[in-house]
């Protein structure tokens, strides 16, 4: 999985590409933890190029959500599609994480 980070004024935008599974999610978690430690309280995850998410990927997102919650931060997800979108629907992630069509619309909500 490729992780691309952009630190913008309102939020850090993280674009993910490929597969978030048991192999790639620990790295993802580490990178996000580093971003939060830097003081980025709002994260927008751009899932437009993410093909797959496994349960360990979901767990990483949960972990980050919890971390941000402790700091009164926000996690927003944009660009859900395909299988990832289905997983979000089934798992009920939709009900706990705000989902947006695009990064722009997510940004406008911060």
């Amino acid at each position: 999985m490729e992780i691309e980070k952009k630190r913008e004024q309102e939020a850090a935008v993280v674009s993910l590409k490929g597969r978030m599974d048991a192999v790639s999610s620990p790295e993802f978690e580490k990178e996000m933890a580093a971003l939060i430690a830097e003081g980025n309280n709002a994260l927008i995850l751009d899932f437009a190029a993410l093909d797959y998410i496994s349960s360990s990927g979901l767990r990483s997102i949960l972990t980050i959500t919890k971390k941000l919650k402790e700091k009164d931060g926000k996690l927003l997800i944009a660009g859900l599609k395909g299988m990832v979108k289905e997983v979000f629907e089934i798992s009920g992630f939709r009900s706990i994480i705000p989902i947006f069509e695009s990064v722009e619309s997510a940004r406008s909500q911060i």
Partner: protein
């Protein structure tokens, strides 16, 4: 082949080959350069020698020429009588020891109209000077070359050498100067003044030229006739051309031509007497157009160079031998420790790490190599010891994991049919564990005489923590499930329990249901699990509509709902984990819900056991060689129902 030879031998070969090439090149260059330089010096010397000899001869010839030239001018200027002429000739011979004889030879009747011949000739004979008169019927001197040629060409000329048979059988040459008388303002030829010289003195001068051991000089006349030569039988009998002809030596012929045209030169040739390779310098005698050749035998010429070359070669050979010995010795000192190192290391390769490596004293590359090998040996030994320990530890952990796995699997109900006396439904489940310990679970049990509780779940992680979490979940579910509770209530309670102190953020997806197998009413709830397939008897499989519900173990406040569906006789429910739909093949394609749907559609009438096995096999043959990443769990439940009008309870029908 070379690569099989020892290092010492290779060293010797390579060093000696290159040294030989260098030495030979230097030697050849030196040899040729010395030869060239020597040749240049020799040419210089030869020229000097030849020209000084030529000069010596020339001096004599010039002094001889003076005499008849003077006499000719005297009788052209002054009137003379017979006596004057005799006196003139006599004094010329007497005053010039080089002159053998001299005469005034007149044209027929020119001196005296009555005399056909008039040529008073004075010559030396045993210290005396004798007078004779030339000319007779047998000696018509005015037809001879020495008379004819100067007459014809109107200038003095040296004759070809000739044997003078009348005067002591000596080789002579005559210088003839024509003289004239002015008649009516015109010069009219009257005769020639001659001076004969013996060529004996020439021989002395020429043979005094000695070069090296066998070098010599020779003189040829204008026609190429041998005038002097160390080989006496050649003199006057052979010419350079006749010799060239006899020897079929075209070089000699060409040289001869150059000689008689008066050119000087320095050429290599074969000595026409000894046949040895030689060099020759030749130069003309300007007075008479004769040519002096000086022969240098090449082997003597280059004797010094050859001697020097032999010495250099000898030094080379001695040097080579010495170099050989040095290299052999030196390479042995290198290769010997290398050899023993190679033997020791081949022992190491066999696994004998206790072998002692050879002692090293030197601090050169071989010393370093040996020390490195020593270090490597020690490191290898340590590494192997560590590896053995690690492997043992790993094996212990693996066997413990295996035991944990076995315990985990033993949690799951595995006896089928589980309720042989319950004819209203059939249930079958299978969990194919991934290589790594996983967190799938399934369970089913009777809540009372008409309610069956069943559940399929998937813990978000893998390994021992997931297995423990799975065990906890399963235990909580079993402990919580009661006939009075709806599935959503059960999930809510289990969630609360799991959320307590769940620092690891581990979670579990769960689908659970309670089937009233008397009525066919199915209540179910979901916590983030994949939607099961509902296969209505005789119809296409469809995805079961799920209530919303988040994973268990994350948020205490999560809400769950219960949905209801009426099963009719023959309806089947297929519950599975994402190990099925997310199994990968070698092209990184997912098995996917679509394929699951297809597989299920293909076997509509199978018993739950067969359907479960078919699905598992289909997934496995889809993945082929790709190792299973996640547990694969499939549970199938078929409601048979009881035919209302059946006379025998327990006799049921399929739709």
């Amino acid at each position: 082949m070379i690569k099989n030879l020892g290092l010492a031998f290779k060293l010797i070969i390579f060093i000696l080959t290159s040294t030989t090439i260098i030495f030979v090149a230097a030697f050849v260059y030196n040899y040729h350069y010395s030869k060239k330089t020597l040749l240049k010096n020799i040419e210089e010397n030869a020229r000097n020698l030849t020209l000084s000899t030529v000069y010596k001869i020339e001096t004599v010839l010039r002094s001889v020429e003076e005499v008849p030239l003077n006499q000719a001018s005297i009788i052209e200027k002054y009137p003379y009588q017979r006596q004057d002429l005799l006196k003139l000739v006599q004094s010329a011979v007497a005053n010039n020891p080089e002159i053998f004889g001299s005469t005034f030879a007149f044209e027929p009747y020119a001196f005296n109209p009555t005399l056909l011949y008039f040529a008073p000739y004075y010559y030396r004979n045993n210290e005396k000077i004798i007078l004779t008169f030339l000319g007779s019927d047998s000696y018509r001197y005015f037809y001879l070359d020495w008379f004819q040629i100067p007459k014809e060409i109107d200038s003095p000329v040296w004759s070809e050498p000739f044997y003078d048979e009348g005067a002591g059988n000596i080789i002579m040459s005559t210088y003839s100067v024509p003289f004239y008388k002015k008649i009516d303002g015109k010069n009219k030829f009257r005769g020639v003044v001659t001076a004969d010289i013996s060529l004996m003195w020439l021989k002395d001068i020429v043979s005094s030229v000695k070069i090296y051991k066998t070098g010599y000089a020779f003189l040829i006349s204008q026609n190429g006739v041998m005038v002097t030569h160390p080989e006496k039988q050649l003199i006057m009998k052979e010419s350079i051309f006749s010799i060239a002809e006899a020897r079929k030596d075209s070089t000699l012929r060409q040289v001869g031509r150059k000689m008689i045209t008066g050119e000087p030169g320095f050429v290599p040739l074969q000595d026409f007497v000894s046949g040895k390779k030689s060099w020759m310098y030749y130069a003309p005698l300007p007075s008479n157009g004769w040519s002096l050749g000086v022969i240098f035998p090449e082997e003597e010429l280059f004797a010094d160079v050859s001697r020097l070359s032999k010495q250099v070669l000898l030094i080379g050979v001695v040097g080579f031998t010495f170099l050989c010995i040095v290299i052999a010795f030196f390479s042995r000192t290198i290769t010997k420790p290398l050899g023993s190192l190679a033997r020791s290391t081949s022992e190491i390769v066999k696994g004998n790490l206790d072998i002692e490596l050879p002692e090293v004293r030197a601090n050169d590359e071989i010393g370093k190599l040996t020390r490195s090998f020593k270090e490597m040996k020690v490191a290898l030994k340590e590494y192997i010891a560590n590896l053995a320990a690690t492997t043992a530890a790993k094996e212990r952990i693996e066997s413990e994991l295996k035991i944990a796995r076995t315990i985990q699997m033993s949690f799951l109900p595995k006896h089928f049919p589980p309720f042989p006396d319950k004819v209203e439904f059939e249930i079958f489940a299978s969990l194919e564990p991934a290589k790594e310990i996983g967190g799938d679970l399934y369970d089913f049990f009777l809540l009372d005489e008409e309610h069956l509780f069943f559940v399929v779940g998937d813990v978000s992680d893998k390994g021992i923590p997931a297995a423990l979490f799975m065990a906890v979940t399963k235990t909580l579910l079993k402990g919580t499930a009661e006939p009075q509770l709806k599935p959503s209530d059960i999930l809510k309670r289990v969630n609360l329990e799991l959320c307590q102190d769940n620092e690891s953020n581990m979670f579990v997806t769960v689908f659970c249901g309670i089937l009233n197998f008397k009525s066919g009413e199915l209540l179910y709830s979901n916590a983030g699990h994949n939607p099961p397939l509902l296969v209505r008897a005789g119809q296409e499989p469809e995805w079961l509509e799920l209530p919303k519900g988040f994973f268990l173990g994350v948020f205490e406040e999560s809400q769950y709902d219960t949905k209801k569906v009426e099963l009719r006789s023959g309806d089947l429910l297929l519950v599975y984990t994402d190990g099925v739909t997310e199994a990968l093949n070698e092209n990184k394609e997912l098995y996917s819900e679509q394929r699951l749907l297809e597989t299920t559609r293909t076997y509509p009438d199978n018993s739950p056991e067969e359907l479960v096995n078919n699905v598992v096999n289909a997934v496995k043959s889809f993945s082929k060689e790709v190792s299973q990443a996640d547990d694969i769990t499939v549970l199938a439940l078929r409601f048979k129902g009881i035919k209302e009008d059946s006379p025998y309870p327990g006799f049921f029908q399929y739709a």
